[in-house]
């Protein structure tokens, strides 16, 4: 650990902690998940970056959306995202969450994930290699350093719009709003 690093640890421990301890919810949405097991096991070893899959959103701060998002999955994604404690970061994985990918004309998938929940970074490709995940992680580090991974703040700020989008796609949601709608939140 060089002197620069140490300085940063002392100045902004929380930020550094988040950088080097990204715990991802183990949530599989589409075919992209197939690349996650190799990247967390012996071949690519994500743990050396501090990335570790955890079983519940309460313990996580990273959400990897791995692949196409069907309407039914979206409901679970929103619920899980809202149950993660702040600060939290989302990364869309594969072209499907970005713009629909090869499901661009499907009746049953949503095309732009960032309409429904805020996304901090994207990994393009169909499907991306595990190396790409690590590139994304290092990019996320830079973003966290520069305070630009602020999806959770945007969610809070524009909650009304997000909620409206969600209800347009899913109909009435059965859980109460996370933040008070209309107010500042």
């Amino acid at each position: 650990m060089d002197r620069n690093q140490l300085n940063k640890w002392l100045k902004t421990p929380a930020k550094m902690g988040h950088k080097y301890s990204l715990h991802a919810v183990y949530f599989c949405t589409g075919c992209g998940i197939i690349e996650v097991p190799p990247s967390i096991t012996a071949r690519w070893d994500a743990e050396r970056f501090g990335v570790l899959p955890v079983a519940t959103p309460r313990q996580a701060n990273l959400f990897l959306i791995t692949g196409y998002v069907s309407v039914k999955t979206l409901r679970a994604i929103i619920r899980t995202y809202e149950q993660m404690p702040e600060p939290k970061f989302t990364v869309g994985f594969g072209s499907c969450p970005i713009n629909g990918g090869m499901y661009w004309d499907s009746y049953n998938t949503i095309k732009h994930l960032d309409k429904y929940i805020p996304v901090d970074g994207w990994i393009a490709g169909c499907m991306p290699r595990p190396e790409a995940i690590f590139v994304a992680v290092t990019h996320l580090w830079t973003l966290i350093d520069k305070d630009m991974a602020d999806g959770y703040k945007r969610y809070r700020k524009n909650y009304q719009a997000y909620r409206e989008n969600q209800e347009r796609a899913l109909g009435k949601l059965e859980w109460p709003p996370l933040f008070s709608i209309g107010g500042k939140g």
Binding site: P13, G17, A55, T56, R58, Q59
Partner: protein, 300 residues
């Protein structure tokens, strides 16, 4: 002096426990042929968790966790670390045995209020497992206490420093082996990792903990690692004259534990209890009978 010891021993335990957590992750990685996280990773995790906002499910949710952690800390005050044992003269082994209950019970109360079935399943497994290893453990401890004719752990350590390790002394060998065979269950590592079981029940009692709660739960886990190993070192390896030797003994035991952990898959809960009630219990029972017989022979 007493006060310094009281502050020192939990801090020492915390440092050792967290070091063990980090070490275990690193060593597991190396055994898996991975590079692994830095050994400071648990500290990074705890810092991160303390900066995260969490949800709470009510007062008991907080209180249970606090109680369980406090219970672990008090147990540490009773366990001699080297020569540091600030509280051990106010109750002895029996208090340790009962204080050990506070940790799982506090977590159980806290988890119960979380109103999540995963927690309930986890807790039910935890209590069953505790009953499972408690049967041989009690027999082993009774053998020790009968052999040394005392209920004070300090006395047991003291006697061993003159008469040699209990693990190597003739009537207690069986009990010692019994203790080794249930140690993974006491520490909650594989093959007895049924309580957390992230893949089955979303890490069981921890499922609703996030942020500071999870940080405290991690600390608790670290302390429990410490307690489990420290008890073994004190009871069977003769404790130590100073904290450094004590730490070295603990380290050796722990590294052996990690090898078991890395090599074995997880048992189902019934299989775990069946195992615990078969061989370790048999060993412990025979051990206790041997101790009693030796005693009556030497007395009469």
């Amino acid at each position: 002096m007493q006060i310094i010891a009281m502050i020192l021993s939990p801090i020492l335990a915390l440092i050792i426990g967290i070091f063990f957590l980090g070490l275990s992750r690193k060593m597991m990685a190396r055994i898996h042929w991975r590079y692994g996280p830095p050994w400071t990773q648990p500290i990074i995790d705890i810092i991160r968790l303390f900066s995260q906002k969490s949800v709470t499910h009510g007062h008991l949710f907080n209180l249970g966790l606090i109680l369980s952690l406090a219970g672990s800390i008090v147990v540490i005050l009773f366990i001699p670390v080297g020569r540091i044992h600030p509280l051990s003269d106010s109750g002895g082994m029996l208090v340790i045995l009962y204080m050990l209950l506070l940790a799982p019970l506090g977590l159980a109360l806290s988890g119960g209020e979380a109103a999540n079935p995963n927690t309930s399943i986890g807790i039910s497994r935890q209590l069953i497992l505790a009953l499972g290893y408690e049967v041989p453990l009690l027999l082993i401890l009774l053998a020790l206490m009968t052999h040394y004719e005392t209920i004070s752990i300090v006395e047991i350590v003291f006697r061993q420093q003159y008469a040699g390790w209990a693990l190597l002394s003739s009537p207690l060998v069986l009990s010692g082996i019994g203790y080794i065979s249930i140690m993974p269950a006491i520490l909650g590592i594989r093959p007895f990792e049924v309580v957390q079981a992230p893949q089955e029940i979303s890490s069981g009692p921890m499922v609703e903990y996030g942020g500071p709660y999870l940080a405290l739960a991690t600390i608790q886990h670290a302390l429990n690692l410490f307690i489990g190993i420290a008890l073994f070192v004190n009871l069977f390896l003769g404790g130590a004259g100073n904290p450094l030797f004590f730490f070295i003994k603990m380290l050796v035991v722990f590294v052996l534990g990690i090898f078991i952990n890395a090599a074995l898959p997880r048992l189902r809960i019934e299989q775990a209890v069946q195992y615990l009630w078969r061989w370790p219990t048999l060993l412990a029972l025979v051990g206790l009978i041997v101790v009693i017989v030796m005693k009556s022979v030497s007395a009469g």
